[in-house]
Symmetry: D2
Subunit: 236 residues, 4 copies
């Protein structure tokens, strides 16, 4: 895993002590943002490199994963960056009708979804697919049995075969529930949820290797899961 971890975003020591003087509850995040000079409109995202050797996956070819990262993920990063600058223009132009503006906001949402979900997807690949007892127990605690979880996760994936979307095991922070979600596209997501395991079901994730045989891709996905990454996300 060579991508910027969460840690790397949070080194705002100086900034924090500065903010600490204000006494406000908003200190931490404000400082963090400040240091990164991230602005809602100005921010430009840099692609996160593949966190594993593209040759190393079992049953997913180097050619496919490289194209997936470069064209689909990379394209989403580029599009998001462009949309963000267009938003700034459109907002400052008072003649922009709200529904035209929202056409851009929709693109921002879709591309944000694509960027974030792809990064989480790549980051939970590259493992040996073996869920240790701990992980199985944690998931069983929510689903009754580990196999019930896996059966549902796979079923959602099969239902998306030949179409587009994602399957996400996520922890809903409001409902305090660990559950599987069906996502119709990059812009469909559960609210206020920490994604824990993310499976891409867009056809670019498997067509090149498996044609229409989505079920075989799902097998390959499971064989490459990094369960330590899943655990890390669960204990956030």
């Amino acid at each position: 895993m060579t991508g910027p971890s969460r840690r790397e975003f949070v080194q705002a020591t100086a900034a924090i002590s500065l903010v600490a003087a204000t006494g406000s509850a908003m200190r931490l995040k404000a400082a963090e943002d400040a240091k990164m000079t991230t602005k809602a409109f100005d921010y430009q995202h840099s692609p996160v490199p593949l966190p594993f050797d593209a040759k190393s996956l079992k049953g997913i070819s180097e050619k496919l994963i490289q194209s997936h990262w470069e064209n689909n993920y990379g394209g989403a990063v580029k599009a998001l960056n462009t949309v963000r600058s267009r938003l700034a223009q459109a907002l400052s132009d008072t003649s922009t009708p709200p529904y035209v503006y929202n056409g851009l906001k929709r693109e921002q949402l879709i591309r944000t979804g694509s960027v974030v979900l792809h990064e989480l997807y790549f980051a939970n690949l590259g493992g040996d697919g073996k869920a240790s007892g701990d992980y199985r127990t944690r998931i069983a605690a929510s689903f009754g049995a580990f196999d019930t979880w896996e059966a549902e996760f796979r079923k959602i994936g099969q239902g998306l075969g030949g179409g587009a979307g994602w399957v996400v095991l996520g922890y809903n922070e409001r409902l305090k529930l660990l559950e599987n979600y069906w996502l119709a596209d990059h812009g469909t997501n559960p609210p206020y949820t920490t994604p824990v395991l993310v499976m891409d079901m867009y056809e670019h994730a498997y067509q090149m290797d498996y044609g229409a045989a989505a079920a075989k891709y799902i097998d390959a996905f499971f064989a490459n899961i990094r369960w330590d990454k899943v655990a890390e996300r669960l204990s956030v």
Copy 2:
């Protein structure tokens, strides 16, 4: 319909005490779940009462907010609970085709979105609408200026007038960005995002009081924002 009951998915008591003993990083959440006996299929959500006096809002009538809470939010809670038990049945019935199953998963996502977003919406109402300097500074740090934030938030809302959707100021935990999002419906959401300020733009949020005049409702919404709640969410 005589499919295996939800009961058959639940054997978690033993599993949970096992988890409690592992000492892993996953303990905390598992314990939390256990206490709430939340299970992916068994969980039944109880409606959260309105966190303010229904008569107390400025420019939003008691009748409207009461109907909003009871019928729209309450209806979503009931539907979510029903869908959850249907999911357990459908999963245990191996003749359920994946795309039929996903029809139910879609309803689960939509109702989850409605329940969670409504609770966050009601919780950020009931205030005096006055953003203190601290809050303004925090938002300005992301948007360049507080007024830029407000202009965009309102513009998105206006573009949704006469239709359906939500406007959400949210902190994207992956991109480390505080930004405004346009949501087309309950199932559209930014991924991995902590909602900070939530405005309902479904017509049930204003038609009864304002007819088609969505802009007036947006004014009323701003006049009732609980900024301390916004701050609390920002510092999660």
Copy 3:
């Protein structure tokens, strides 16, 4: 925005007289278009007046139907006209990324849906709601029984209550089937289908009169159906 004006797309006078001379099977439609000076980009839609007295509906108030026509339908017409001219600009500006262009195309589709469905909706209201034997027989021929049709049409409507969408009885020209369709929003539609009976389930169709009681609105809708209009559409 100083892109080439819409004018630059229009040089069709000569082209049209040319078409008139070809003697091809395509003449009829071309001539029709010509008469209406309709162009893909230049066309500006004029609102169609309410085809009945706004005071005359049973159980749907003058105030509501007037607001529905003026604000929701009228707003869609205005938005569609604006989007159309923005499309011409955006297409002629070669720096417009395709995904930004498609943000506008989405708005065009949504507004086209709203304009067309609203016009069909108003046009099938204003009647006495009494389906004569002929109409009942025609519908029974597809649904087994008239009551089965009505039960499904109403059920779809109830499922949309508190949300947004349309219910459409339509004749699918490809499948040669008369069936009911669930529409999630203005942009969701069955392909290649002649709408026969259209019911608006956006909340602006009933909130002002019935609050959240969508079922009462569905009753009122049925009491005002113009069945002769339904018959006319069936025999197109």
Copy 4:
């Protein structure tokens, strides 16, 4: 599952002979339906064979088009047939909540879209891609110039690259307009529109041959258009 069977919805023989006698304007379609024994719930669709030799396309491999027809189109036919029988069951079971029913109606709409659009797509392939003067003139009459039409059609397609959807040149029967439409998925469609030229932009239409290079696929699509089929649809 012991709900009343689909049979219980079917009593149409008598009804149909009755219709035949009414002499009403609705006769034609009723008779047509009768002959095809099409019923809203009972109808089962048979796959339409590829209307050209799978080996004959330029730049689209036999393997891809065969898989496209068999798995994606064929799968949609099968799913639609299954959903239709589930609808009959669900409607006759009065305990089915409307929103659960609409989960199935959504699947019906999506699969109907997939079946119909795929059939139209295959039917407008297999030609030499050469638009004669007549066709160019007809399209120019709506778009100002043939090249403007082509530029927009291609641009919409490029914007859908790496995702999912369709591009449709269609004649809107209500607006009397020939225009290009962006479709986000099988369930997104313009209302009351006769599709004239249909291009599949789901990744299964090109990934196997072109990987992520959607633009090359669009070139191949144009090289295989059957313009006589386009003309035929225009003069319906």
